[in-house]
């Protein structure tokens, strides 16, 4: 027996229970409302053909939230909503003792919404989204009893199979869009032969068929459906009758007018469908679990539908729509009775059931009606479905050979299904009552929910409602592409179909009579689990492969990097093309400036190289500082004064936090890391050096090519240069680009900087181990340094103010100002110790500073937006108000941006300093973050 979700439901029950009956009725409201609304709309659909509502969504991508309701959609939507309402009510009683049942209702509701969206979607990609929604919902429902290992693996199986189909569907839709130029369903359906004549036809056909076959459990993708019986029975009933598996059928029927009517369509669908029909019918007979038996009969029925769609005749589509309706009705009724039996007796194993007709007469009535319809016996709607089905096989439009095969398989499958229906109903309700089997009819809502579709199976056949016939005709016509006549008369005269039907029924009765012997014979010839074994083997193979792949992940940073650098070198050697230089050496004057430049470059190179040679980390850091300062000198010689200034302060800050971090590291670790440099093998060092030289050579070549082909006229630079004064009021073009033209970049930049500070802060202050806190907090005793500290802080602040105010006119900007003040603060830390500095400099509150900086940047951008109608278009208040301001300073939004940068950078930098400087006393870290 498969995992029983009902016991799982019970086992997690609480004494209070769960007002699930109320929930059931409440959740039945949306589908019921949808059902009524669809009924009200149905006449208009029948008159007008298709109702379309479209809301533009992402027009540039051709995405529209469009809804299209035609006969086919309406038939499916009515089934989804009508059965959905019954299922919710049923679930209300079913899940009474399960305190977590809100999950069940939620998932069912997702299922309902996705399915209804799928059938009314008017845009391919909308359809795809809902399609995936049904996959996810059925995954959640199948894995509902999550503590049960079987349920989990069944859920995974269903997601893997149907999710794979979803990918195929997306690919098919993309190809359809590229072949027809539209993702709109109406336009595609009106495209005539475009798809059939397209060179993409075969890929589209295969992908769409894959999607439909996985969803509709066609052989060999059927494996997820029987395992999916771990879902709570209301969900199974819904999944089998109206949602999920019907989605694939809907897709095929939907696309038939543009994809069908070809040889390949016929062979792919008919072959798969016939095979699935026989396979499901054959295996269904060997099942002893009520739900599994029903699952296999669903597979068989889905095979029938696929086969019929492949035939592409008017009568085949007539058979499709009748079969869809008949199957939905009897399958939901039978699943719900199976659930009732399970719920009341605690088992759904046919070997333990029997003789329940007296104990549960209402349930028995529903089961008998459903079973008769499933068996295709008169006077049920299922009989009508089977008669139409058989008449398609004897239809003169097909070649006689195929006719013969189809007729044979249909008769065989019909006989098997009849025997199954007999086993199901008789095995449960007829015969002697089993020992210790206590049961009675369930609460009214549950019973009524099961009886309604069962009764409808009878009613629709006996009372020929004209509305149903015309709805079915509209649905069949929409799927076929041209009008189809549908009459629902039970008696269609004596002919070959009736004769075949009689043969099928007699065969089925014989099978039923010798059912146990047939089953024993089937056990000898075990074919059922072949595909499942294949699936298991495939999964095991993937697992083994991934274990191998993980073994490649050695976790050594250096080796990963080496591989990447090596790849760079190899790519460069393979694809690097030397560009002939367009050198203009004459324009480079060889004067004092050039000599200075060469000198600075030499120092940069030498001091960079020194970081390798110097043994102690501290010395290497100082060499790094020297190298950075000389990079700044090079920038200054460029001349690029703004960049040079930023480089200087950044270099100092880098050195400071590196030294801080180094001194705060435990001495033992530091010594060990220091020693590492000499423990590395010579071979390793040589290899690294070769690799580094390779990348360096590549970089040098790129740089040389770039430099030798300069200068090139740059339109962008020209644009900025001409407009910086006029538009931004800035003499400093670089400043104008950073603050105004590319203000948004700068906003992101300071956000990154602040975030890096916050990240460092949270890593070190929340993550560090607690160590001896007091040792680090000494500070310096030198009176000279102390008085110097008192002087330097205000000085730095004045300097920063100047940088911020005249950022647009002279070198320097808010960033430089922020780092300078932060450096002054770190000087205080060094001189007075962290504790005292914090007490004295109460205004240094890193987090509030950073946040207010970012907020100000947004506010100033909004001000420009409200004044000018565009973000980051500067507004000069000073000139507007006619204020007498010093030359070069403008009270504008650009100035506000400089202030914002200053604040954010000061905040971010102090966060970094705070955390790297004092990783050891986490309490003070926390308090500094919150601004004390």
């Amino acid at each position: 027996m498969v995992g029983n979700p009902r016991t799982a439901l019970r086992s997690s029950g609480s004494p209070q229970g769960f007002p699930s009956a109320v929930f059931g009725f409440a959740f039945a409201l949306p589908p019921a409302a949808a059902f009524l609304a669809l009924l009200a709309l149905a006449p208009r659909v029948l008159d007008e053909g298709a109702l379309v509502r479209s809301i533009p969504w992402i027009p540039s991508l051709g995405l529209a939230f469009s809804i299209r309701l035609d006969g086919l959609s309406a038939l499916f939507a009515l089934l989804v909503s009508g059965i959905g309402a019954l299922i919710m009510i049923y679930a209300g009683s079913y899940a009474k003792r399960d305190p977590g049942a809100w999950r069940l209702f939620l998932y069912l509701q997702i299922f309902f919404v996705s399915m209804i969206g799928l059938v009314v979607a008017g845009n391919l990609f909308l359809l795809f989204i809902f399609w995936e929604g049904t996959s996810v919902a059925s995954y959640l429902l199948i894995g509902y009893a999550a503590k049960n290992e079987k349920a989990r693996s069944a859920a995974f199986k269903s997601l893997l199979v149907t999710g794979g189909g979803g990918i195929a569907l997306l690919a098919a839709f993309l190809l359809i869009e590229s072949a027809t130029g539209s993702a709109d369903l109406a336009e595609i359906l009106a495209s005539g032969n475009r798809l059939r004549e397209s060179s993409l036809y075969i890929p589209i056909l295969i992908l769409a068929a894959l999607a439909a076959f996985t969803k509709s459990a066609q052989f060999p993708f059927h494996i997820w459906l029987p395992d999916g019986m771990t879902a709570p029975t209301p969900a199974s009933a819904y999944l089998h009758s109206a949602t999920m598996v019907k989605a694939g059928i809907y897709l095929l029927a939907r696309l038939n007018p543009v994809l069908g009517l070809t040889e390949s369509w016929f062979w792919v669908l008919t072959a798969t469908g016939t095979l699935t029909m026989l396979f499901g019918a054959y295996l269904g007979l060997s099942q002893r679990d009520l739900k599994r038996l029903l699952a296999y009969s669903t597979i068989s029925q889905l095979g029938v539908l696929t086969m019929l769609i492949g035939q592409d005749t008017a009568i085949a589509f007539k058979a499709v729509v009748i079969a869809v309706l008949a199957h939905s009705l009897y399958k939901s009724a039978l699943f719900m009775t199976a659930g009732i039996v399970d719920h009341e007796t605690g088992t759904r194993d046919l070997d333990r059931l029997g003789g329940l007709r007296r104990a549960m007469p209402g349930t028995a009535a529903a089961a008998v009606l459903g079973g008769l319809s499933m068996a295709g016996l008169p006077p049920m709607f299922g009989f009508l479905a089977k008669e139409t089905l058989i008449s398609t096989a004897t239809h003169p439009t097909l070649p006689p050979f195929i006719n013969l095969i189809l007729a044979g398989t249909i008769v065989a499958a019909g006989a098997l299904i009849l025997a199954q229906a007999g086993v199901l109903v008789l095995g449960t309700f007829a015969g002697p009552r089993r020992e210790g089997l206590e049961a009675r009819d369930p609460p009214a809502p549950m019973l009524v929910a099961a009886l309604v579709p069962a009764a409808a199976s009878l009613l629709f056949a006996l009372v020929p409602l004209p509305g149903i016939a015309s709805l079915l005709a509209a649905a069949a016509g929409a799927a076929f592409g041209s009008p189809v006549k549908v009459s629902l008369a039970l008696w269609s005269g004596v002919g070959i179909p009736l004769a075949l039907s009689v043969v099928a029924v007699s065969l089925g009765l014989v099978l039923l009579r010798f059912e146990s012997r047939v089953r024993n014979a089937q056990k000898q010839l075990e074919v059922g689990r072949i595909i499942d074994r294949l699936y298991d083997g495939l999964l095991a193979g993937v697992d083994a492969l991934s274990r191998r792949a993980v073994r490649l992940q050695h976790g050594r940073l250096r080796l990963y990097l080496s591989v990447m650098f090596l790849a760079v070198v190899i790519l460069f050697v393979l694809f690097g093309r030397p560009v002939p230089p367009r050198l203009a050496p004459a324009s480079v004057p060889l004067d004092l400036w050039a000599a200075l430049r060469v000198f600075a470059l030499a120092i940069v190179v030498a001091s960079s190289a020194a970081t390798i040679v110097l043994r102690r980390d501290l010395h290497a850091i100082l060499a790094l500082g020297a190298s950075g300062l000389n990079v700044a000198v090079l920038f200054l010689l460029e001349p690029a004064p703004d960049v040079a200034l930023a480089m200087i302060v950044v270099d100092i800050l880098t050195v400071v936090i590196l030294v801080l971090a180094l001194t705060k590291l435990p001495a033992a670790i530091r010594a060990r890391a220091d020693a590492l440099d000499f423990r590395e093998s010579k071979r390793q060092k040589i290899l690294d050096a070769i690799l580094a030289s390779g990348v360096g050579a590549a970089a040098a070549l790129v740089a040389w090519t770039a430099l030798a082909t300069r200068p090139r006229p740059s339109e962008v630079s020209q644009f900025y240069a001409e407009r910086s004064k006029a538009l931004a009021g800035a003499r400093d073009i670089v400043g104008a680009i950073v603050i105004d033209f590319r203000g948004f970049d700068t906003l992101i930049e300071i956000a990154v900087f602040s975030l890096a500070g916050i990240g460092a802060f949270s890593l070190l202050c929340r993550g560090a181990l607690k160590r001896d806190a007091r040792a680090a907090d000494r500070g310096s005793r030198s009176p000279l340094l102390r008085s110097f500290a008192f002087v330097i802080l205000p000085l730095c602040m004045v300097l920063a103010a100047v940088f911020v105010m005249y950022g647009h006119d002279r070198p320097g900007d808010g960033f430089v100002g922020g780092v300078i003040v932060a450096l002054a603060v770190v000087f205080w830390y060094a001189v007075f110790g962290a504790e005292r500095s914090r007490r004295t400099l109460r205004w240094v509150r890193p987090l509030p500073l950073a946040v207010s900086g970012l907020a100000l940047a947004l506010v100033q951008a909004s001000i420009s937006y409200f004044v000018n109608g565009s973000f980051y278009t500067p507004v000069d208040f000073g000139r507007r108000l006619g204020l007498p301001l010093p030359d070069g300073f403008a009270l504008s939004t650009s100035f506000l941006m400089e202030v914002a940068i200053f604040l954010a950078v000061l905040g971010g930098a102090s966060l970094v300093i705070d955390s790297t400087g004092h990783p050891d006393d986490s309490e003070s870290c926390e308090s500094s973050g919150e601004g004390r």
Partner: protein
């Protein structure tokens, strides 16, 4: 001149990469800074018109190209932020894992 500058940039690049590949994490951090210096040098040099004037509007004659400079200005700030974060990570590795060896980082998973 371009040859000299290109060679210099290449050497600084190589030094940065060699340092990044060291086992000592502090050296790797140093390598990161050197590498970003080299990249910035390259960018700014690309904008060079061998002029003697900074890109200020109203400057006479030839000025250097302002666009690469603006790019580098942003790059410097971002590199600084990234470096600070990397340093914090190194620090945490040192304190938690009691190691400054990049080959030991894998151990921290457990």
């Amino acid at each position: 001149m371009p040859v000299l500058i290109a060679a210099g940039i290449g050497i600084v690049f190589a030094v940065g990469i060699y340092q990044i590949l060291r086992r000592n994490l502090i050296r790797s951090a140093i390598g990161l800074v050197i590498l970003s210096n080299a990249a910035n040098l390259f960018l700014v040099a690309c904008g060079s018109r061998w002029g003697l004037f900074a890109p200020y509007s109203g400057s006479p004659a030839q000025t250097s190209d302002p666009l690469p400079q603006a790019l580098v200005l942003t790059a410097i700030v971002i590199a600084m932020g990234g470096f600070a974060f990397v340093l914090a990570v190194v620090h945490v590795v040192a304190l938690r894992g009691r190691t400054g060896d990049s080959d030991d980082i894998d151990r921290l998973k457990n």
